[in-house]
Amino acid sequence: MKRAYLLSLFLIAGCGDESGSHKPVGAKPETTSTTESVATDAVTIYADVRPIFAAHCSACHPARNGPDWLDYAQAKRYAENNILFRRVVTEKSMPPPGSPQAASITSDEREAIGRWANARGPEQLAAAPGPSTRSKAVAAPSVKEIETTFPSEARSCLNCHGLDGPQAEGKLRIPRLAGQNAPYLLDQLQRFKWRERIDPTNAMNEIAGELSEEVMGNLSKYFATRPAFGNLSMTSELTDSESKLFNRGHVISRQYCVQCHMNPIYPRGTSDPKIPALAGQSEQYLRNQMLYFRDNERRSPLMHEYAKELKKSEIEAVAFYFSVVRQTNHER
């Protein structure tokens, strides 16, 4: 790690430019384009981000509070629990806006930290250098893959519930199923079948009405195992108004939603397998469902109680927030 040591020295001394002076091993040249950064095979290891921490974080951490970012064990914990990614990349609330550290950190450096956090904070490269399993968005399944690996009954679901990332116009209000809790999916299919839950277009009721229990069980299990994607872009470049909406949704969700829907004390983030995970879900779908809960068109005494306290603008903020936020410290 002599290279890292020298680089740290170089940066701490305050001279030299930061953007071009080091490159992670095995990486393509860094770009600032969001679309390319999602697909890159770059693997960032601790030695690559440590200089960034030293330059932009050590003035306050751990002296004021928080972890010592120059200590790998502590830094890795915050990579794993998603706080690092959220603060530095998504919310950009660290370094604190207005501080000299915030002015001097570049978006490339934020991206590097984001890559490192996404890869769950590796110290060294794995034996065979290559992309870590969490560091890039999962590619959409190819037609061949669909035909060979998907169970036949699931293929027709894909027509509407596409697994292919951001959804096409016209399907925006349809939920993503990939990575959802299997008992929840099964429960909802049963409710559609027995008309306890009514789809406004009646499509789901008709479709589910023809499915047997066994098929519904298989479908639920299958979709639960599909890797979730969508909001896995590491530099969620939010515009100013989007940031405001995100922050508002964040505040409201802390009070109303995360106890059951995104709570890190539970294995999959939800307090029960029959409760749906919300992170990365379609924004329009979430908004519509909250309005249905509020108006009792989708029957849930519990959700009705919470939904009726929220104004429409608050529901929209929460829906946006969950559609953008990344799930915390567990696979989805």
Binding site: N65, C260, I275
Partner: protein, 309 residues
Amino acid sequence: MKIAHLGTLFVLLHFTSTGLPQNLTELLVRGEYLVNAAGCADCHTLKHDRPFAGGVKIDATIGPGLKLTFYSPNISSDKVTGIGDWTEANFIKSMREGISPNGSYYYPVYPWRSYTKITDDDARAMFAYLRALPPIVGFTPKSNIGFPIYNQRWLMWFWKTIFLNRSNDPLVNLQTGPGPFVPLPSKSESWNRGAYLVEGVFHCAECHSPRNAGGAPIADQWMAGSSFPVGKRFPPNITQDLATGLGSWKRVDWLRFLASGISPDGTQPGGEMAQVIRNTARLNQADRAAMVDYLMLLASVPRKNEGGR
């Protein structure tokens, strides 16, 4: 209903101080945890952007056909309209004895009869948290307290004397006057923690116990269902009775219900219980397990729920 959260607190303090000493942080974190668990915001927060500013309308049935309308006061840190000028002793006394700093009694719509069991240390933490939040200025509407009390608070002295200075917790069977929870040495640590949470902090009996003509919970029907509706529903019998209570629930059913609101038969509670579930969902696992330990040892009371289950 809405609650405030520590994020507000840290945003406020991040840019105003050089950092919190560790023990103060711990005190505030504990205070936030307890204030959330005790459900203060469920009665004291009308709009979530004005946390603890009061003004929530509470219809309290105190007897057959006797409904009073209360409006909760502002308990934010504002000095004029809130509790900003209270001392720690004021706060502890209000929870321990139901007496406000100016010496008048609180009506038991404020569940101090349960909160009396909260220890001094926990009360201090709760007070610290409430005082650390930003002050919200606001007067609240006057409560409408007519027949038969006509807002004569001194009448509460009689009520307290008759009904508080008597142990009425058949299982817990503690002190005979107001006072903090004293753990029973014969019971496990988890049970004691559960008893503290259920009886003190979460004040479950205030809704789930039937009351006598004087409006106090009946001793030998502890948690056997409410005699009056809360909102539109009757809080049910939650003792271990098989036919009319929750005797058929297994431990995992209890744990699941407190974490998510999903009952073994798939139904969910609504109304006020939904607010409670939001509070129990954010407890840590050990505390929920402790509450279940206590709840599953409640004496079985066969009492049919009035609203029908």
